[in-house]
Structure formats: C-alpha cells, structure tokens
C-alpha cells in the first residue's frame, strides 16, 4: 500500500474529480478605462476594469473634479455610467459644464442613507452592463466610513471581478481596505487665481452663461492638485508610488 502521495498526484486526482475548481484564477491582462485626466492616466495606466478603485482625500482636494472628469470621459465614449450619491451632493449644473452626457448617467440619490447607498451599488453591479459605477462617500464622516463592514467590499470585488465594470469609491478616508486594486490619495487644494486683496476692490460680476448652460463659472478659482498613488495591485510593476502635481484639471 502506498503510504505517501506526491502533491502532483493529489492535484491530478482532485482535478479528475472536480475539474479545475481549485485552480487559482489568474488575470492575464487588465483592461483599463481612462480617467479623462492625462496626468493620472500616465501615472496609473487608467482605472482597472473588473476591480475597485478608490479616491480619497479631504474636502476641496479635487475628488469631485476628478469624478466629473471620469464621468465626462466615460459618457463621451458611450459607456453607461451610474452614480450612487450617498449624500445627494451631485450638482448637475456644474456637471454639465464638465461635459457629462446625462443621457448615459443614472443618478441614484440616497439622501444620506449609507445602507441604501450600498444596496443600490450592489443592485447596479449585479445588473451588469455598466461601464463605470461610482459610489460617492465623500461626505460620509471618517468614523462612519471605517465602520463599513469588510464583507461589503469583498462582495463588490467579487461581483465586478468578471465584468468590464469599473467600481470607483470616493471617500474622505481610505475605507475599502485590501479590496481596492487602485487607491489614489488626493492632497491638492484649489488655489485662487484672483481674490479680493483689497476689500474696497469689488470683483466683477460672474459672467452668466445662456440659461440652459450651467451657471457656475468660478473664474477666480484654479484647480491645483497633488495626487499620490497609495496602492496599485494589478497594473504594471514599474509603476511605483509616486507623487506629482497636475495643474489645471
């Protein structure tokens, strides 16, 4: 009687009975979706499809500007997008100025209900066919974000794994733990191109666009961002943690 089995014999025996169910799933190529910002695409290679990407940073660090750029790029390239807006902060007038095609955007307003936001994201991911799903937790306090149980993130990661969907999470603090394939930390802040240096000097009126066009034209603010790649798993190994400054996005 044979007392010991080699590993290869065991594996072949299992494979003959159960197929390749124990074989690790290997990803050969990673398809990406551009963020719409050349500097970030150069740095990261784009947003990996079938994975979670996370952008976190404090308020006014450029998370929403980046989200608009992503949505504008994706909708312009015929991707069907969904935005799960946890705190109902999406501003359509500003978003239209960013070039987002609303006909390709499904906006889900959750009125501050975190549980609804996660259930809505889960429904959207299971529906399939969405190119970009954004879960906006930008106004969720850090202590609440840290309380989100890990099983949600594992569930999301598992759901998008075999789909060409990019799930992007926007938050104030990193909360997806190890489930995100790409984590970007935003550290920038908007700068003033012109301000009232002297209080007696009044700035001119905002230039109003035609009514159907968005009203907001913040001509006195200039975007100036710094983005740090905190973690990046499935992409090229030569992309190291780095920091850069990207003006005017």
């Amino acid at each position: 009687m044979k007392a010991a089995f080699s590993k290869a014999e065991l594996e072949s025996d299992i494979a003959s009975r159960f197929g390749d169910v124990f074989k690790l799933h290997e990803k050969t190529t990673v398809e990406t979706l551009s963020t719409g910002v050349d500097e970030i695409d150069t740095l990261t290679g784009g947003l990996p499809r079938g994975a979670i990407s996370e952008f976190f940073g404090p308020a006014s660090s450029g998370r929403t500007s980046l989200m608009y750029a992503m949505l504008a790029y994706a909708t312009a390239h015929e991707e069907t997008c969904a935005l799960v807006d946890t705190n109902d902060v999406f501003a359509p007038t500003t978003a239209a100025a960013a070039g987002i095609d609303f006909d390709r955007l499904l906006w889900v307003r959750c009125a501050g209900n975190l549980e609804h936001a996660f259930k809505a994201a889960d429904l959207l991911l299971h529906a399939g066919g969405f190119g970009l799903v954004i879960l906006d937790l930008g106004d969720v306090a850090g202590k609440d974000a840290r309380r989100i149980i890990s099983s949600w993130w594992y569930r999301f990661r598992r759901t998008v794994e075999d789909r060409p969907t990019v799930l992007t999470v926007i938050s104030e603090e990193a909360c997806t733990r190890s489930c995100a394939a790409l984590t970007l930390e935003l550290q920038g802040a908007a700068e003033w191109s012109r301000a009232n240096s002297e209080k007696s000097k009044v700035l001119p009126m905002r230039k109003l666009a035609p009514a159907i066009q968005p009203l907001i034209t913040p001509g006195n603010l200039l975007r100036h961002n710094a983005i740090k790649v905190s973690r990046q798993r499935p992409l090229s190994p030569w992309v190291n943690e780095s920091q850069f400054r990207a003006a005017n996005f």
């Binding site: 308020a59 006014s60 312009a76 070039g99 906006w107 609804h116 429904l123 006195n220 603010l221 005017n248």
Partner: protein
C-alpha cells in the same frame, strides 16, 4: 362551394362577420354588408348547400337576442366566390348557382355591375375597359364572356382578361379569411378575497403567462401593462407599467408588477384581477461591434424598479437642466438607454467636444438643503462662518474671499430669488476648504450652499 351573404340594410351595431362565424370559421369580409363563407364540410351540420342557405336566411330574420340580424339577407351559393358575390348582390332571396353554369344565373347582369375590387383593378383602368365594351356593344356578362380570349387580350390587355374571367365566374383565388382580433387581456375572479401580496403574485403569474403566450403566438411584445384590481367596497385599484422597450418575458413582467404592487399596495382585499397589455412590435436592434457593453433592457428595468423601491422613484433617473438661471435648477427624467446610432454618434461628438472644452471645470458639491449659517462680517465682508446641520457642520475663519456676485430672478413669481454669493476659504485645524456661501437679500440670512472639490 362558397356562400355569399349580402345584407345592405344591416344595422350599424350588428356585425355580419360575427353572424357568418355561426356557419363557418372561414369567412371573408368583402366589404361592409357582404361576406363570403366557405361551406365545404358543413353538410353534417346544415345538410345540403341549399338547406344551409335557407338556414342563413331564416336565422338572419331573427332578433339579435337569438343571434339574428333583424333583417332579410340575400344568399347565393356558387362554386366560385366571385360569382356568388355577383349573384347575391344582384338577386334577392336565395340563389343557387350550379358549378360550371355561372353565366346561366349571372349572364344577364350588365357589365357595369362587375365588382372589380374583387380582382384588385384600378377604377380608372376599369372605366376605360367598360367604355370600350360599351362602344363595342357589349352590354352583359354573357356577351363579355363570349368574346374570344385572344382578341380581348390583344385589345384590352391583362386587365381585360381578368375582368372577362370575373364576368364568366372563372376567377381562381383563395378566400382572404378574416381573423378574429386577438385579445391581450385576461381576468380572474376570486372565490375568496386576497389580502396579501404573496398569493396575489400567483394570480399575476398565471395571467401574465397567458398574456405573454398570446403575445408570443402573434410575434408581438408589449410596452404597457395595465393591472386592474377590483377591491372590496366596489373600488378599483389600477396600476400601469410603462416600459421603455417592448418585452414579453413573463418573469420580468411579473417581477416589475410585484415591485410596483409593493410600492403601491391596494388599500383593501382583492376580489378580482384583470391584466391587459398593449401589443406592439418587438424591438429589433443591431448593436455595433465596437459599441461598449450596455445593460440588458429587461435587467435594467428590473434594477430600476428595485432601486425605485429602495430609494424612491423620485430619487433615480437622469438629471435634466432646466431653462433658467435659478441655482440648482434641474429635473429628473426616467433613465433609458440611448439606442439610436445616429443620435448616439451626434451626442458622442457633441459631448466629446464639450468635455475637451471643459477639462478645467471645478467640481462642486451641493448641500441639499443649504446650511443655515451664522456669518460674522467686517464692513460687509465675511470673516467667520459657522453652520451646523444634521449631516455636516461648517465653521472656520475666512482666510480668503471673492465676491459678492449678485444673482436675482423670477421677480414676478412668489418663489423669486435674489442673493449675493461669495466664494470663501475657511481654515479649520490647518485644513483649508473652499465653500460657496450666499446671503438671501429678502430674509438677509446667510447659507452655505456647498463646497468646491
């Protein structure tokens, strides 16, 4: 053999085809008041064709409650349907035309009585032929039928040949059988009233299965399903599902109907259920090879219905800007996929150009509703802002400021708006954040509208 029933004095509320279905399922409605039925195989029910004609004539005289027409009809039986039509139209009572002897009966009819619509000829062509026949001295069916075929063909063409065959009762055609209109509505009366949704789902499933089977049989789909529930207390609960794409999958329709019933439950026990749908042609779509994947329409509809149940119907959809300068003016519309390739391409080009032109757009997070703020000001300039809400709080020292920008509008309405906007940088614990604050001119209250991000 064919029987033609001619009823010129038919009351408007009676249907001659319905009457004819009582004798044969193969019925052609030639025109209003004239039908042709195929009586082959009816011998066991009605006896000889002549007995059938008598039965038709007698039943037509009966009252409508007994299935009659309350009027006398002319009936003609012939081996040729067109000969039967001519005989019934021109002779009153019952006429029996022996096979091969059509001209014995119809030969004396004037050529003007030829019903050219039976052979799909144009009136102008027929008038020319009839004028020619009049010049030749041809007056009756028999005289026209006796003309040599070759000569008619040379002088009058194929239309003349067809007209001559019609006069001779020798046309060859099949009956254009009138199909009864399909009904896409089913209802079920319940022995015991239902008070819960779960047993109601089984009723829905059964009715929808029947409806979808009927739609499938006619190669149709539906884009509107109406469910009508008769409730206790003689009230009716009606719900209408409007689908953006035609579909006929009973499982999807059942889920949509159940989700709708959960969101809008009936207010009393259900006594009977009726479901009707609007039949439309199914959607045929050829996607491009390089078009990105989009959600399947049925799955998308289910997802939207589930999301509507979760967050409310008014909270999902696509935003649409309103034609106004009012801040944060938008409306929500139903989310549907763009499927028209030309429209898609046009939108794509337009939005791409827009995206390129607006890459410098600064993101803005709108606080809904705006935070009521306490603002300390120095000679009208904000120096300190404090605002607390349920979800967020904003406070800090103003380190940079731009403004004010005064915007007003809709002064002729009760909900007019007028305000001074400021962009401010607030510093709190070393962290600087950009906000937009405004002062309502009417109430002179300060609000934080949102932050730039």
């Amino acid at each position: 053999m064919f029987a033609c029933i001619f009823a010129p004095q038919l009351p408007a509320d009676l249907s001659l085809p319905e009457f004819a279905y009582g004798f044969s399922p193969l019925v052609e409605e030639v025109r209003t008041g004239t039908v042709v039925i195929d009586v082959d195989g009816c011998e066991l029910l009605f006896g000889s064709p002549y007995q059938l004609a008598r039965e038709v004539s007698e039943r037509a005289k009966k009252s409508r409650t007994e299935g009659g027409l309350e009027s006398s009809v002319s009936v003609a039986i012939a081996a040729n349907p067109d000969a039967a039509v001519h005989a019934a139209s021109n002779l009153q009572g019952i006429t029996f035309v022996l096979p091969g002897e059509e001209l014995t009966c119809t030969g004396e009819f004037p050529v003007d009585a030829l019903d050219y619509s039976l052979i799909n000829l144009e009136k102008k062509v027929v008038n020319e032929i009839l004028e020619t026949l009049r010049l030749w001295g041809v007056r009756s069916f028999a005289e026209f039928a006796s003309l040599p075929v070759a000569g008619v063909s040379e002088r009058l063409g194929q239309s003349g040949i067809k007209l001559q065959q019609l006069a001779a009762g020798k046309t060859e055609r099949h009956l254009k059988v009138k199909q009864p209109a399909p009904v896409f509505a089913h209802s079920l009366e319940l022995e015991h009233a239902i008070t819960e949704l779960e047993p109601l789902s089984f009723i829905f499933a059964r009715l929808l299965h029947q409806l979808c089977a009927a739609l499938n049989a006619y190669a149709l789909a539906t884009n509107e399903v109406c469910a009508s529930l008769q409730l206790e207390g003689q009230t009716t609960h009606e719900r209408k599902l409007s689908l953006p794409y035609p579909m006929r999958d009973h499982k999807v329709l059942l889920k949509l109907l159940l989700l709708d019933a959960e969101m809008h439950p009936p207010q009393a026990a259900v006594k009977s259920v009726s479901i009707a749908c609007e039949p439309v042609k199914p959607r045929v779509l050829q996607n491009g090879l390089f078009v990105p994947l989009a959600p399947a329409p049925d799955k998308l509809e289910l997802t939207l219905a589930r999301l509507a149940k979760l967050v409310g119907e008014e909270n999902i959809g696509s935003p649409t800007l309103l034609d106004t300068h009012r801040p944060d003016a938008f409306s929500m519309k139903r989310f549907t996929l763009v499927t028209n390739p030309a429209r898609r391409k046009r939108r794509q080009i337009g939005s791409r150009q827009l995206a390129i032109g607006n890459q410098k757009c600064l993101g803005f997070r709108m606080f809904r509703s705006p935070l009521r703020a306490i603002v300390q000001a120095d000679q009208g300039w904000p120096t300190q802002v404090s605002a607390w809400g349920k979800q967020r709080s904003v406070y800090g020292k103003v380190v940079n400021v731009a403004g004010p920008w005064r915007t007003t509008g809709d002064w002729w309405r009760d909900d007019r708006w007028a305000r001074d906007e400021w962009d401010v940088t607030l510093e709190r614990s070393g962290q600087q954040t950009l906000y937009r604050i405004y002062r309502e001119l009417k109430s002179e209250n300060w609000f934080v509208e949102g932050n730039y991000d």
